[in-house]
Point group: C2
Chain length 429, copies 2
């Protein structure tokens, strides 16, 4: 039955439909489920006491400011802290180059609003972050995909895609979501040079860059772009007239519940983003920004990130060892050097979406790989899945992999199952 409202939705929403995956993943909120599905940090390592002290200090000392309307650009000291943080990683920005967003997701929405005309083609990796697809589908984007391998985007296939004409390219160089792979230094340089040659902006999404468990930190695309252009152009703000909009977030290093991310970009882009953000939510919660600043400052964030590296690095190792131990032959997976995810390729005859039904019965959950393809189910790769290793504790990680191995074996025997009633929606990220 068609309701009057259905006829009223804008054309861009025809692609937004309720997803079976989302319905299945609602089960991950049940306490007896071991979930590898979300991109949830380990809650037992949230610095709750630091937040408690910070919230108290902010309200005691600056309560009126923390509760009043504030500037769209974001809280000055937090922007300044981000500038220092970026400088530590070789990105030389000023406060004017930084906009605080309501999580990285808002940055993606903002970029869609700023850059995408209906029908514009965006170059994305195959697979890519589903939150970006969600954000940009609403702007009626089309996509051209460049596959990734164990060294990230296959740069030898990039130039042909760029020649086809794209509005911008979207790259996750560090500990790819969902792929778990890292773009090699050589490829980073090629990506930056090709983007510059074709005049194509890069959206560099780097939510996990600091969560490195082995090897060296590689320079960001924005840093390489800056070095590449240095001899030619610098704007009056001391920041390169670059091709790149860089995104990151406090969600994986401090806490996701506050929804605080940021954009680093040329000043003129930030100014446009500020205008757009005014129409989107006026500003991000100033209370949360002030509290996050109080928590993060004076080296606390760096120290906390060191803890997370250790904890998540161990969890990664536990998951990798359990997979080696329990998964049947014919299953392959990536070896992430950092981040929160790894990517599994099942034998070609196994459909991961069907597997999820068995897995949920075994009380374990994951995200089927097709969710991360711009072409969705028609993009093939139905035998893939993304696993998160940051959320569950080590014993649960091992048990979850054992259950998942059981589900894979069940699926190999051809059993199918039914699914029970849904629970409240969980955001995938």
């Amino acid at each position: 039955m068609t309701t009057p409202w259905q006829r009223r939705y804008a054309q861009r929403n025809q692609r937004m439909s309720s997803s079976i995956i989302r319905e299945l993943l609602k089960f991950t909120q049940q306490p007896d489920i071991i979930s590898f599905a979300g991109g949830l940090p380990a809650p037992e390592f949230f610095p709750v006491e630091a937040f408690r002290a910070a919230a108290d200090k902010v309200l005691a000392q600056s309560g009126r400011q923390a509760l009043q309307y504030s500037a769209t650009e974001g809280y000055g000291p937090l922007r300044s802290l981000i500038v220092d943080k970026m400088a530590h990683y070789g990105i030389h920005a000023k406060e004017d180059n930084v906009l605080i967003t309501s999580g990285s997701q808002q940055a993606l929405d903002l970029i869609g609003k700023l850059l995408i005309n209906p029908g514009d083609t965006i170059l994305v990796e195959r697979p890519t972050y589903l939150g970006a697809l969600q954000a940009w589908n609403a702007y009626q984007a089309e996509y051209i995909e460049v596959p990734i391998d164990r060294d990230g985007m296959q740069v030898d296939l990039l130039e042909e895609a760029l020649r086809a004409g794209v509005k911008f390219m979207y790259v996750l160089p560090n500990f790819h979501n969902p792929g778990g792979v890292t773009l090699s230094l050589e490829r980073r340089q090629e990506v930056v040079e090709l983007a510059d040659r074709y005049g194509i902006p890069i959206i560099e999404d780097d939510p996990y860059g600091e969560l490195l468990y082995e090897g060296e930190h590689l320079p960001s695309l924005v840093q390489l772009d800056c070095e590449h252009l240095e001899s030619r152009a610098c704007d009056g703000h001391g920041y390169f007239k670059g091709n790149i909009i860089y995104l990151s977030t406090f969600s994986k290093t401090l806490a996701p519940g506050l929804r605080l991310g940021w954009i680093v970009a040329p000043v003129e882009v930030i100014q446009k983003c500020v205008q757009a953000k005014q129409g989107m939510d006026l500003h991000s919660s100033i209370f949360d920004q002030m509290v996050a600043y109080e928590v993060a400052k004076d080296g606390f964030l760096e120290k906390h990130v060191r803890t997370l590296r250790k904890v998540y690095g161990e969890r990664r190792d536990v998951m990798l060892a359990a997979m080696a131990r329990y998964f049947p032959p014919g299953v392959q997976w990536t070896h992430p050097r950092g981040g929160l995810f790894l990517w599994v390729e099942l034998p070609p005859e196994i459909n991961a979406e069907e597997l999820l039904q068995d897995a949920v019965q075994e009380k374990v959950a994951f995200v089927p790989g097709h969710a991360f393809y711009a072409a969705g189910r028609s993009g093939g790769h139905l035998n893939t899945m993304r696993l998160n290793f940051s959320n569950a504790e080590p014993a649960m990680l091992e048990e979850g992999i054992r259950r998942l191995a059981r589900a894979i074996e069940r699926r190999m025997t051809g059993q199918t199952t039914l699914v029970a009633a849904p629970a409240p929606a969980l955001s995938m990220n």
Copy 2:
């Protein structure tokens, strides 16, 4: 000079440009300026200690939940509190009818994303809330305007506008921003009946409804729509299959800094909104939602609203009395029964945007009226302005009106002035 970025912005952003008003209003952050410009609540009445206790309790008792990702729909207890609040005003919703948004501004953006195709015509009041225009310009909306008078929207002109074909109509029935007027009961009934007859959805924006200083609370459009349709249709959720999306916010009754608003709508509309919001910011800060719930619950919000009614009602009276005393003949203004704003009509030869330059020199600020017209400066009414009476303390209100009166008189003598360097951006609302 055209930069590479300028060529890349999506078409929808051609209308987003830096505004002289916004630049001028940056001065309102200077401490010696008396600002009637923003829609800022009185910070000295923020319940800071209640927030402090609430933040501490939330982090002490549910720190992990408050800092983790959460459901897009919003925090259950807060949605339930909103249901009770709505019921108190005759709006019978269930939790499924409520979505928490990152301020009312996000609700406006969401509605644009959900309903507006490029070129769609939206029926708005003349003047109307500039935040709605900002949000919907980004979706390339066109507008048809129905003027307001002292009883709100001129309903005798509405049917002709509806016949012209519009996607939806946007109405601020209570204590209009910027008009300060209230839609009469008779007109409310006519609006609801006409909208139903023509099958046109209504977006009812009600941020100030509780801030009533004289007379009786009038039923909302959504309540009247429910009664109008009652004999015909109720959906399975006990909520009417109505024409109306109702918006409100905690910004004016608790605190705007946390960016918490809400949408009440039929379940199918809320579900679509949830899908759209996932791509926009995943969810609103769960920490803020939990804190706001702790502050608002057990009757605190109702008690606090009673305080605000008294405080803002007095401020309104002070401003009205000062205007009567100091403004030169030929200046007219509305008498708001509630809310935060009143509307001033200057003698036709005075341009309010030029007046603002003199006013800033006199250390007083306001928003020139043309900002609230869908047609902008070409909409005429350049001799109008919006004044806010909630932010400044009574003595400052009187002093500000005296300064403004001086600026009006200066403008009548034809003096012009120059403007100094800008300060950080202030959100207008």
